[in-house]
């Protein structure tokens, strides 16, 4: 449906962070543009002083969808800091008109397809996360745990969301007292609420369905097991003193310091956004609960 010949202008707020206000903006952007076809969409950043770089994956998910409906997207009036952030993570490569160079403190904006070469995907994270100057020294096992955690999120999006692509973007903070990385995955697939409520034949809120999905062994797959990846991710986050945020539909749950905190969203995100924050130099980074006897696995 072509709404108007005039460009559809959306004002971006002063700050877009991984909190209720930030996710509300992203959810509303998705809904406000959902029916647009053959139009021009302008995102006006003139008031925006901060935009979390890792949330570019969520923004990209929406804008890619908007473009798929033959709309044209323009990012306008980017202030210096936001322009820098979007340049460094290569987001403007896709949605801007300025050729740019890569920055060492980002995991560049990337669309990962369901048929992505897995070796290449692994190499991407290895290169963009671990093989950067100033990165803290990490053992191979610690690196592996981070990679497995990230790919568990990726697989969840592609299988449960039944979507073709998942979008990723990250920000690395190597010079913090405790270096850390924030990575956001985003997709426009089926929401967790839609999956869980269909499976349980229930009508639970977005938050309750996210909490259900986080419980050990819970999965919406039929006649098979699953639901382990997210639980392992939680365990890693606990050990690492990191955090995990999940936004899906009208749900927003943050897992921090071993507890789930539920937030109320005014908006509704028609897909899922997962942000994982991990410390990169942590002597407790991976701890095996006990040595596994390989003769006692089956």
């Amino acid at each position: 449906m072509k709404i108007t010949d005039k460009p559809y202008v959306i004002k971006v707020p002063i700050r877009v962070r991984g909190n209720t206000l930030g996710y509300d903006f992203i959810s509303n952007l998705a809904l406000d543009t959902y029916l647009l076809e053959d139009s021009s969409v302008i995102l006006d950043f003139s008031d925006t002083k901060w935009f979390d770089g890792n949330l570019c994956s969520a923004l990209g998910t929406i804008l890619d969808d908007v473009k798929a409906r033959r709309n044209t997207v323009f990012l306008r009036n980017l202030q210096r800091h936001v322009h820098q952030a979007f340049t460094k993570n290569k987001f403007l490569d896709t949605f801007g008109d300025i050729p740019i160079s890569e920055d060492s403190l980002t995991i560049p904006y990337k669309k990962i397809g369901i048929n992505e070469n897995e070796q290449e995907a692994k190499d991407f994270f290895n290169d963009q996360l671990f093989n950067k100057p100033d990165m803290p020294l990490m053992s191979n096992e610690a690196r592996k745990r981070v990679l497995v955690a990230l790919f568990e999120v990726c697989v969840n999006a592609l299988t449960h969301g039944e979507c073709e692509n998942v979008y990723v973007c990250g920000q690395i903070f190597p010079n913090k007292e405790i270096p850390e990385v924030s990575v956001t995955f985003s997709d426009m697939g089926r929401t967790i609420g839609a999956n869980v409520n269909a499976f349980l034949k229930a009508d639970l809120s977005g938050n309750k369905t996210i909490l259900w999905a986080l419980e050990d062994g819970n999965t919406t797959k039929v006649n098979t097991t699953g639901g382990i990846g997210l639980k392992l991710l939680q365990s890693l986050v606990v050990l690492n003193h990191g955090s995990l945020q999940i936004v899906s539909g009208d749900g927003f749950v943050e897992f921090l310091d071993g507890y789930n905190k539920e937030y109320e969203l005014d908006g509704y995100f028609p897909g899922t956004i997962v942000t994982i924050k991990l410390r990169l130099k942590d002597s407790n980074f991976y701890v095996l609960s006990s040595e596994i006897d390989i003769n006692d696995i089956f």
Binding site: E141, V148, V155, D216, G217, T224, I228, G229, L232
Partner: protein
């Protein structure tokens, strides 16, 4: 029979569940033929639980725990991967012991 996972999937990275299907089929056929299967994880760099569920977890729907314990062996698996695999097999044992109960319990907890 020795089953080198990296050869079956033609690589050292196993992320998507679809990649586990070929591994699962080979194990299943060998078990039907009453062979002992030695799962060789040499060279595997990265595996997700989604892959392990598909490759190994679903065997518990088709064979008894006793048979799997008797016929499946492992070699050259890293400790961190062994943790993932143990988690997968433990969950599968509980689930496939009685899927209806498992899902019924979940429904009961949610809906009261």
């Amino acid at each position: 029979m020795d089953l080198m996972i990296s050869q079956v999937i033609d690589g050292n990275t196993a992320i998507a569940p679809s990649k586990g299907e070929s591994v699962h089929e080979k194990i299943k056929q060998a078990l039907i033929d009453q062979e002992t299967v030695i799962l060789d994880f040499t060279g595997m760099e990265l595996m997700t639980t989604a892959f392990l569920n598909s490759a190994i977890g679903q065997l518990y729907a088709e064979f008894s725990t006793e048979l799997l314990r008797d016929k499946l062996k492992i070699k050259w698996i890293s400790q961190s991967d062994a943790v993932l695999l143990k988690k997968v097999t433990d969950t599968a044992k509980i689930y496939f012991a009685n899927p209806a109960d498992f899902e019924g319990n979940i429904n009961e907890r949610i809906n009261g």
